[in-house]
Protein backbone atom coordinates (compact mmCIF):
# COMPACT_ATOMS: atom_id res chain seq x y z
CA UNK A 1 0.00 0.00 0.00
CA UNK A 2 2.77 2.34 1.00
CA UNK A 3 4.73 1.23 -1.98
CA UNK A 4 1.87 1.98 -4.33
CA UNK A 5 1.40 5.44 -2.80
CA UNK A 6 5.09 6.15 -3.29
CA UNK A 7 4.73 4.90 -6.80
CA UNK A 8 1.80 7.25 -7.45
CA UNK A 9 3.78 10.17 -6.01
CA UNK A 10 6.78 9.42 -8.24
CA UNK A 11 4.41 8.97 -11.18
CA UNK A 12 2.91 12.38 -10.46
CA UNK A 13 6.34 13.92 -10.13
CA UNK A 14 7.44 12.39 -13.43
CA UNK A 15 4.22 13.39 -15.11
CA UNK A 16 4.77 17.03 -14.20
CA UNK A 17 8.20 17.09 -15.84
CA UNK A 18 9.43 17.01 -19.40
CA UNK A 19 8.92 13.93 -21.44
CA UNK A 20 12.06 12.41 -19.93
CA UNK A 21 10.60 12.98 -16.40
CA UNK A 22 13.36 15.29 -15.08
CA UNK A 23 11.91 18.84 -15.14
CA UNK A 24 14.54 20.90 -13.17
CA UNK A 25 12.28 23.86 -12.26
CA UNK A 26 9.74 21.51 -10.66
CA UNK A 27 12.41 19.86 -8.56
CA UNK A 28 13.87 23.20 -7.53
CA UNK A 29 10.42 24.47 -6.55
CA UNK A 30 9.64 21.39 -4.53
CA UNK A 31 13.07 21.47 -2.86
CA UNK A 32 12.77 25.18 -2.03
CA UNK A 33 9.30 24.65 -0.68
CA UNK A 34 10.45 21.75 1.45
CA UNK A 35 13.39 23.81 2.81
CA UNK A 36 11.14 26.76 3.65
CA UNK A 37 8.60 24.54 5.37
CA UNK A 38 11.33 22.69 7.30
CA UNK A 39 12.86 25.99 8.37
CA UNK A 40 9.50 27.32 9.46
CA UNK A 41 8.62 24.14 11.32
CA UNK A 42 11.97 24.18 13.13
CA UNK A 43 11.37 27.80 14.15
CA UNK A 44 7.72 27.29 15.02
CA UNK A 45 8.46 24.88 17.85
CA UNK A 46 8.25 27.10 20.96
CA UNK A 47 11.81 27.80 22.03
CA UNK A 48 10.65 29.02 25.42
CA UNK A 49 8.76 26.23 26.99
CA UNK A 50 7.18 26.18 30.42
CA UNK A 51 10.11 24.39 32.06
CA UNK A 52 12.51 26.97 30.65
CA UNK A 53 10.32 29.83 31.84
CA UNK A 54 10.07 28.34 35.32
CA UNK A 55 13.84 27.86 35.47
CA UNK A 56 14.38 31.49 34.46
CA UNK A 57 11.90 32.76 37.04
CA UNK A 58 13.46 30.54 39.71
CA UNK A 59 16.89 32.05 38.97
CA UNK A 60 15.51 35.59 39.13
CA UNK A 61 13.64 35.05 42.36
CA UNK A 62 16.75 33.81 44.11
CA UNK A 63 17.37 37.54 44.47
CA UNK A 64 16.18 39.27 47.59
CA UNK A 65 14.01 41.79 45.88
CA UNK A 66 13.97 44.52 48.54
CA UNK A 67 16.42 45.61 51.18
CA UNK A 68 16.27 48.11 54.01
CA UNK A 69 19.43 49.34 55.67
CA UNK A 70 18.72 50.61 59.15
CA UNK A 71 20.89 52.86 61.12
CA UNK A 72 19.21 51.72 64.30
CA UNK A 73 19.64 53.40 67.66
CA UNK A 74 19.64 51.31 70.84
CA UNK A 75 19.15 52.71 74.32
CA UNK A 76 19.78 50.83 77.55
CA UNK A 77 18.43 52.35 80.75
CA UNK A 78 18.62 50.47 84.05
CA UNK A 79 17.64 52.01 87.38
CA UNK A 80 17.29 50.51 90.85
CA UNK A 81 16.54 52.33 94.11
CA UNK A 82 16.58 51.51 97.79
CA UNK A 83 14.27 53.92 99.60
CA UNK A 84 15.14 57.26 98.03
CA UNK A 85 18.67 56.29 97.04
CA UNK A 86 19.53 55.19 93.51
CA UNK A 87 21.78 52.16 93.77
CA UNK A 88 21.94 51.49 90.06
CA UNK A 89 21.66 54.08 87.29
CA UNK A 90 23.00 52.96 83.93
CA UNK A 91 22.41 54.51 80.54
CA UNK A 92 23.97 53.55 77.25
CA UNK A 93 23.14 54.98 73.82
CA UNK A 94 24.54 53.46 70.65
CA UNK A 95 23.87 53.12 66.93
CA UNK A 96 24.34 50.05 64.75
CA UNK A 97 23.64 49.24 61.09
CA UNK A 98 21.13 46.44 60.53
CA UNK A 99 20.34 45.09 57.07
CA UNK A 100 16.90 43.56 56.50
CA UNK A 101 16.27 41.72 53.23
CA UNK A 102 12.97 40.42 51.91
CA UNK A 103 11.98 38.36 48.90
CA UNK A 104 9.98 35.41 47.67
CA UNK A 105 10.60 32.18 49.52
CA UNK A 106 10.94 29.68 46.67
CA UNK A 107 10.70 26.77 49.09
CA UNK A 108 6.95 27.43 49.04
CA UNK A 109 6.90 26.79 45.29
CA UNK A 110 5.43 28.70 42.38
CA UNK A 111 3.72 27.77 39.14
CA UNK A 112 3.52 29.14 35.61
CA UNK A 113 0.28 28.16 33.85
CA UNK A 114 -0.32 29.07 30.20
CA UNK A 115 -3.85 30.19 29.42
CA UNK A 116 -5.48 27.28 27.51
CA UNK A 117 -7.36 29.70 25.25
CA UNK A 118 -4.50 32.15 24.66
CA UNK A 119 -0.90 30.91 24.38
CA UNK A 120 0.42 34.45 24.84
CA UNK A 121 -1.06 34.77 28.34
CA UNK A 122 0.29 33.05 31.43
CA UNK A 123 -0.77 33.02 35.06
CA UNK A 124 2.02 32.95 37.63
CA UNK A 125 1.29 32.00 41.21
CA UNK A 126 3.85 33.47 43.57
CA UNK A 127 4.13 32.85 47.30
CA UNK A 128 3.95 35.88 49.58
CA UNK A 129 7.18 37.70 50.38
CA UNK A 130 9.06 36.96 53.60
CA UNK A 131 11.92 38.44 55.57
CA UNK A 132 14.84 36.34 54.37
CA UNK A 133 17.68 37.89 56.38
CA UNK A 134 18.35 40.43 59.13
CA UNK A 135 21.97 41.04 60.05
CA UNK A 136 23.50 43.53 62.45
CA UNK A 137 26.90 44.83 61.38
CA UNK A 138 28.71 44.95 64.71
CA UNK A 139 31.68 46.72 63.15
CA UNK A 140 29.39 49.72 62.62
CA UNK A 141 28.52 50.18 66.31
CA UNK A 142 28.98 53.70 67.58
CA UNK A 143 28.58 54.39 71.29
CA UNK A 144 27.41 57.93 72.07
CA UNK A 145 27.56 57.97 75.84
CA UNK A 146 27.45 55.65 78.78
CA UNK A 147 26.46 56.68 82.26
CA UNK A 148 27.22 53.82 84.62
CA UNK A 149 26.49 54.25 88.29
CA UNK A 150 26.37 51.01 90.26
CA UNK A 151 28.32 48.90 87.75
CA UNK A 152 28.81 48.76 84.02
CA UNK A 153 26.31 47.38 81.53
CA UNK A 154 27.20 43.68 81.19
CA UNK A 155 28.03 41.94 77.96
CA UNK A 156 24.96 39.72 78.30
CA UNK A 157 22.68 42.70 78.89
CA UNK A 158 24.16 44.30 75.83
CA UNK A 159 23.73 41.11 73.76
CA UNK A 160 20.10 40.77 74.80
CA UNK A 161 19.47 44.41 73.97
CA UNK A 162 21.02 44.05 70.52
CA UNK A 163 18.85 40.98 69.80
CA UNK A 164 15.77 42.94 70.91
CA UNK A 165 16.80 45.88 68.71
CA UNK A 166 17.09 43.54 65.71
CA UNK A 167 13.60 42.17 66.37
CA UNK A 168 12.21 45.72 66.69
CA UNK A 169 13.90 46.63 63.42
CA UNK A 170 12.31 43.68 61.60
CA UNK A 171 8.88 44.67 62.92
CA UNK A 172 9.49 48.25 61.83
CA UNK A 173 10.57 47.09 58.36
CA UNK A 174 7.37 45.07 58.01
CA UNK A 175 5.29 48.04 59.23
CA UNK A 176 7.01 50.20 56.60
CA UNK A 177 5.94 47.78 53.87
CA UNK A 178 9.12 45.84 53.07
CA UNK A 179 7.10 42.70 52.25
CA UNK A 180 4.72 44.52 49.92
CA UNK A 181 7.65 46.22 48.20
CA UNK A 182 9.54 42.92 47.84
CA UNK A 183 6.51 41.21 46.29
CA UNK A 184 5.80 44.12 43.93
CA UNK A 185 9.41 44.09 42.75
CA UNK A 186 9.30 40.30 42.30
CA UNK A 187 6.15 40.62 40.19
CA UNK A 188 7.68 43.35 38.02
CA UNK A 189 10.89 41.37 37.49
CA UNK A 190 8.94 38.23 36.50
CA UNK A 191 6.70 40.28 34.22
CA UNK A 192 9.67 41.93 32.43
CA UNK A 193 11.23 38.52 31.98
CA UNK A 194 8.10 36.92 30.56
CA UNK A 195 7.43 39.87 28.29
CA UNK A 196 10.96 39.66 26.94
CA UNK A 197 10.18 35.99 26.22
CA UNK A 198 7.24 37.10 24.07
CA UNK A 199 4.43 36.60 26.56
CA UNK A 200 1.88 39.34 25.98
CA UNK A 201 -0.06 39.23 29.24
CA UNK A 202 1.04 38.07 32.67
CA UNK A 203 -1.42 37.51 35.50
CA UNK A 204 -0.44 36.90 39.10
CA UNK A 205 -2.12 35.01 41.87
CA UNK A 206 -0.96 34.40 45.42
CA UNK A 207 0.24 30.85 46.01
CA UNK A 208 -3.07 30.14 47.77
CA UNK A 209 -4.96 31.04 44.58
CA UNK A 210 -6.23 34.54 45.33
CA UNK A 211 -5.27 37.44 43.07
CA UNK A 212 -1.91 38.72 44.03
Amino acid sequence: MAGSAAGRFSQLFRSSGSPDGTQPSGRVALSLGAILILLAVSCSAPRVDRTQLEAGIRDLLQLRTYEQIYRAVGYISQERSVLIFKTVDRQLLYAVNIRVQAGIDLAEGFTVEPDPGDPDTVTVSLPLARILAADADESSIRQYFSHEHGGAVSLLDYGDQLAALKEQTIQDAVARGILTQARENAKKIVEYYLRSAGIREVKFTAAGGSAG
Binding site: V48, Y66, A72, Y193
Partner: protein, 263 residues
Amino acid sequence: MSGRRRLFPRLLVPAVLLLAAIVAVVLIAPNVGKLGKIDLLQGLGIVRTAETRSATALLGEVRELYKLDTVEMVYKTVFPYDYMDPALDLRTIIAATRFTNGSVAELLTSRQELYLRAYNLSHELGMQTGPDRYDFVVVTTVVRAGIDLKAPGIAHPEAASNQEISRWLQVETSSDRQRHVTVTLPDATITDLQTEDPSKAGYIYPDIRIPPAGWKRISEFVADHVRQDAEASDLLSRARSRAGTLVESFLKSAGFDSVTVVE
Protein backbone atom coordinates in the same frame (compact mmCIF):
# COMPACT_ATOMS: atom_id res chain seq x y z
CA MET B 1 -3.24 16.40 -23.34
CA SER B 2 0.20 17.81 -24.18
CA GLY B 3 -1.17 21.37 -23.59
CA ARG B 4 -2.27 20.38 -20.09
CA ARG B 5 1.12 18.80 -19.41
CA ARG B 6 2.90 22.04 -20.40
CA LEU B 7 0.54 24.25 -18.36
CA PHE B 8 0.83 22.14 -15.19
CA PRO B 9 4.65 22.48 -14.67
CA ARG B 10 4.45 26.21 -15.43
CA LEU B 11 1.88 26.71 -12.65
CA LEU B 12 3.51 24.24 -10.27
CA VAL B 13 6.66 26.31 -9.59
CA PRO B 14 4.98 29.53 -8.39
CA ALA B 15 2.17 27.60 -6.72
CA VAL B 16 4.55 25.48 -4.61
CA LEU B 17 6.69 28.51 -3.73
CA LEU B 18 3.63 30.59 -2.78
CA LEU B 19 2.21 27.77 -0.69
CA ALA B 20 5.55 27.22 1.04
CA ALA B 21 5.93 30.96 1.73
CA ILE B 22 2.41 31.12 3.23
CA VAL B 23 3.07 28.09 5.42
CA ALA B 24 6.43 29.56 6.52
CA VAL B 25 4.89 32.95 7.40
CA VAL B 26 2.02 31.34 9.33
CA LEU B 27 4.42 29.19 11.32
CA ILE B 28 7.10 31.81 11.97
CA ALA B 29 4.93 34.86 12.70
CA PRO B 30 3.72 33.90 16.21
CA ASN B 31 7.30 33.38 17.35
CA VAL B 32 8.78 36.65 16.16
CA GLY B 33 9.53 38.65 19.27
CA LYS B 34 10.09 35.65 21.48
CA LEU B 35 13.48 34.72 22.85
CA GLY B 36 14.08 32.42 19.90
CA LYS B 37 14.27 35.31 17.43
CA ILE B 38 18.01 35.80 17.81
CA ASP B 39 18.65 32.18 16.85
CA LEU B 40 16.46 32.54 13.80
CA LEU B 41 18.17 35.75 12.77
CA GLN B 42 21.55 34.16 13.23
CA GLY B 43 20.40 31.28 11.07
CA LEU B 44 19.45 33.71 8.32
CA GLY B 45 22.82 35.47 8.55
CA ILE B 46 21.60 38.95 9.56
CA VAL B 47 23.09 38.83 13.01
CA ARG B 48 24.70 42.25 13.01
CA THR B 49 21.44 44.06 12.26
CA ALA B 50 19.66 41.95 14.83
CA GLU B 51 22.28 42.72 17.45
CA THR B 52 22.07 46.48 16.92
CA ARG B 53 18.32 46.33 17.15
CA SER B 54 18.37 43.99 20.13
CA ALA B 55 20.93 46.18 21.97
CA THR B 56 18.49 49.11 21.82
CA ALA B 57 15.58 46.95 22.90
CA LEU B 58 17.72 45.30 25.56
CA LEU B 59 18.82 48.65 27.01
CA GLY B 60 15.12 49.59 27.20
CA GLU B 61 14.45 46.41 29.18
CA VAL B 62 17.48 46.98 31.41
CA ARG B 63 16.23 50.52 32.04
CA GLU B 64 12.95 49.08 33.31
CA LEU B 65 14.98 47.11 35.85
CA TYR B 66 16.96 50.22 36.80
CA LYS B 67 13.65 51.92 37.57
CA LEU B 68 12.99 49.51 40.41
CA ASP B 69 13.91 50.92 43.81
CA THR B 70 15.37 47.90 45.56
CA VAL B 71 17.04 49.51 48.55
CA GLU B 72 16.17 52.15 51.12
CA MET B 73 17.81 53.39 54.26
CA VAL B 74 16.02 54.18 57.49
CA TYR B 75 18.50 56.56 58.99
CA LYS B 76 18.15 57.41 62.67
CA THR B 77 20.11 60.46 63.70
CA VAL B 78 20.91 61.12 67.34
CA PHE B 79 20.73 64.87 67.90
CA PRO B 80 23.01 66.53 68.98
CA TYR B 81 25.65 63.81 69.48
CA ASP B 82 25.89 62.77 65.81
CA TYR B 83 27.23 66.25 65.14
CA MET B 84 29.48 66.52 68.18
CA ASP B 85 32.63 64.62 67.29
CA PRO B 86 33.93 63.07 70.56
CA ALA B 87 37.49 63.75 69.39
CA LEU B 88 36.81 67.49 69.65
CA ASP B 89 36.65 69.58 72.80
CA LEU B 90 34.05 72.28 73.32
CA ARG B 91 36.39 74.48 75.40
CA THR B 92 39.01 74.50 72.65
CA ILE B 93 36.38 75.44 70.06
CA ILE B 94 34.99 78.26 72.19
CA ALA B 95 38.50 79.54 72.98
CA ALA B 96 39.30 79.59 69.26
CA THR B 97 36.34 81.85 68.55
CA ARG B 98 36.58 84.05 71.68
CA PHE B 99 40.17 85.18 71.62
CA THR B 100 40.74 85.51 67.90
CA ASN B 101 39.38 87.95 65.34
CA GLY B 102 37.51 86.67 62.29
CA SER B 103 34.32 84.88 61.35
CA VAL B 104 33.43 81.43 62.70
CA ALA B 105 33.85 79.95 59.22
CA GLU B 106 37.39 81.33 59.00
CA LEU B 107 38.41 80.28 62.51
CA LEU B 108 36.96 76.79 62.76
CA THR B 109 37.19 73.64 60.71
CA SER B 110 33.91 72.35 59.26
CA ARG B 111 33.74 69.64 61.97
CA GLN B 112 34.32 72.19 64.73
CA GLU B 113 31.70 74.51 63.26
CA LEU B 114 29.15 71.67 63.07
CA TYR B 115 29.92 70.74 66.68
CA LEU B 116 29.38 74.31 67.82
CA ARG B 117 26.14 74.79 65.88
CA ALA B 118 24.69 71.53 67.26
CA TYR B 119 25.76 72.40 70.78
CA ASN B 120 24.29 75.93 70.55
CA LEU B 121 20.95 74.66 69.23
CA SER B 122 20.64 71.97 71.92
CA HIS B 123 21.61 74.53 74.58
CA GLU B 124 18.98 77.02 73.31
CA LEU B 125 16.34 74.26 73.53
CA GLY B 126 17.32 73.49 77.14
CA MET B 127 18.95 70.13 76.40
CA GLN B 128 21.81 68.96 78.62
CA THR B 129 24.75 67.20 77.02
CA GLY B 130 26.41 65.70 80.15
CA PRO B 131 28.10 64.84 82.31
CA ASP B 132 25.17 64.45 84.76
CA ARG B 133 22.40 64.22 82.16
CA TYR B 134 22.45 63.34 78.49
CA ASP B 135 19.41 64.63 76.62
CA PHE B 136 18.95 63.53 73.06
CA VAL B 137 16.41 63.33 70.27
CA VAL B 138 16.27 60.59 67.62
CA VAL B 139 15.17 61.84 64.18
CA THR B 140 14.17 59.27 61.56
CA THR B 141 14.76 59.94 57.87
CA VAL B 142 13.90 57.52 55.07
CA VAL B 143 16.29 57.74 52.13
CA ARG B 144 15.72 55.82 48.89
CA ALA B 145 18.43 55.27 46.31
CA GLY B 146 18.46 53.95 42.76
CA ILE B 147 20.20 54.17 39.42
CA ASP B 148 20.40 57.65 37.86
CA LEU B 149 17.92 57.39 34.98
CA LYS B 150 18.83 60.81 33.60
CA ALA B 151 22.19 59.72 32.19
CA PRO B 152 22.50 60.28 28.40
CA GLY B 153 21.41 57.15 26.57
CA ILE B 154 19.69 55.74 29.64
CA ALA B 155 17.01 58.44 29.72
CA HIS B 156 15.60 57.50 26.27
CA PRO B 157 17.24 54.34 24.92
CA GLU B 158 14.93 54.27 21.90
CA ALA B 159 16.28 57.66 20.76
CA ALA B 160 19.89 57.03 21.76
CA SER B 161 22.72 56.90 19.24
CA ASN B 162 24.71 53.67 18.73
CA GLN B 163 27.60 55.29 20.58
CA GLU B 164 25.41 56.14 23.59
CA ILE B 165 23.97 52.64 23.65
CA SER B 166 27.36 50.95 23.42
CA ARG B 167 28.53 53.05 26.36
CA TRP B 168 26.04 51.19 28.56
CA LEU B 169 25.50 47.90 26.79
CA GLN B 170 27.37 45.80 24.24
CA VAL B 171 26.11 42.56 22.71
CA GLU B 172 28.61 40.24 21.04
CA THR B 173 28.33 36.84 19.43
CA SER B 174 31.46 34.73 19.36
CA SER B 175 32.47 32.46 16.50
CA ASP B 176 30.99 29.48 18.37
CA ARG B 177 27.66 31.36 18.56
CA GLN B 178 27.96 32.10 22.29
CA ARG B 179 26.14 35.32 23.12
CA HIS B 180 27.85 37.71 25.48
CA VAL B 181 26.66 41.01 26.89
CA THR B 182 28.61 43.67 28.78
CA VAL B 183 26.61 46.12 30.89
CA THR B 184 28.13 49.26 32.38
CA LEU B 185 26.17 50.49 35.38
CA PRO B 186 25.30 54.19 35.57
CA ASP B 187 25.89 55.96 38.90
CA ALA B 188 23.41 55.58 41.72
CA THR B 189 21.66 58.57 43.18
CA ILE B 190 19.34 59.44 46.05
CA THR B 191 15.81 59.31 44.65
CA ASP B 192 13.80 60.29 47.72
CA LEU B 193 14.41 61.66 51.20
CA GLN B 194 11.79 62.19 53.89
CA THR B 195 12.13 63.16 57.52
CA GLU B 196 9.46 61.66 59.74
CA ASP B 197 7.72 63.30 62.66
CA PRO B 198 7.99 61.27 65.86
CA SER B 199 4.89 59.45 67.11
CA LYS B 200 4.20 58.08 70.58
CA ALA B 201 3.83 54.56 69.21
CA GLY B 202 7.07 54.53 67.28
CA TYR B 203 9.37 56.57 69.54
CA ILE B 204 11.07 54.13 71.92
CA TYR B 205 13.47 56.62 73.54
CA PRO B 206 13.03 58.83 76.62
CA ASP B 207 10.54 61.62 76.01
CA ILE B 208 11.92 65.13 76.17
CA ARG B 209 10.22 68.48 76.71
CA ILE B 210 10.73 70.37 73.47
CA PRO B 211 8.09 72.68 71.97
CA PRO B 212 6.96 72.06 68.36
CA ALA B 213 9.05 75.03 67.17
CA GLY B 214 12.11 73.45 68.79
CA TRP B 215 11.41 70.11 67.13
CA LYS B 216 11.08 71.93 63.79
CA ARG B 217 14.51 73.50 64.24
CA ILE B 218 16.09 70.14 65.09
CA SER B 219 14.34 68.47 62.17
CA GLU B 220 15.60 71.16 59.76
CA PHE B 221 19.10 70.91 61.18
CA VAL B 222 19.12 67.14 60.58
CA ALA B 223 17.59 67.45 57.11
CA ASP B 224 20.43 69.79 56.11
CA HIS B 225 23.00 67.09 56.87
CA VAL B 226 21.32 63.75 56.35
CA ARG B 227 21.82 63.67 52.57
CA GLN B 228 25.55 64.01 53.13
CA ASP B 229 25.44 61.30 55.81
CA ALA B 230 23.50 58.94 53.55
CA GLU B 231 25.91 59.54 50.67
CA ALA B 232 28.84 58.84 52.98
CA SER B 233 27.23 55.55 54.03
CA ASP B 234 27.20 52.51 51.71
CA LEU B 235 23.66 53.25 50.48
CA LEU B 236 24.66 54.37 46.96
CA SER B 237 27.18 51.59 46.40
CA ARG B 238 24.61 49.10 47.67
CA ALA B 239 21.95 50.44 45.27
CA ARG B 240 24.40 50.11 42.40
CA SER B 241 25.56 46.63 43.23
CA ARG B 242 21.98 45.40 43.71
CA ALA B 243 21.02 46.83 40.30
CA GLY B 244 24.04 45.03 38.81
CA THR B 245 23.05 41.70 40.36
CA LEU B 246 19.47 42.08 39.13
CA VAL B 247 20.50 42.94 35.56
CA GLU B 248 23.03 40.10 35.45
CA SER B 249 20.48 37.57 36.64
CA PHE B 250 17.84 38.90 34.23
CA LEU B 251 20.10 38.73 31.18
CA LYS B 252 21.30 35.23 32.04
CA SER B 253 17.70 34.09 32.40
CA ALA B 254 16.94 35.76 29.06
CA GLY B 255 19.40 33.41 27.35
CA PHE B 256 22.78 35.15 27.28
CA ASP B 257 25.66 32.73 27.71
CA SER B 258 27.72 35.21 29.71
CA VAL B 259 27.08 38.59 31.28
CA THR B 260 29.71 41.06 32.47
CA VAL B 261 28.62 43.91 34.70
CA VAL B 262 31.05 46.83 34.92
CA GLU B 263 30.56 48.98 38.01
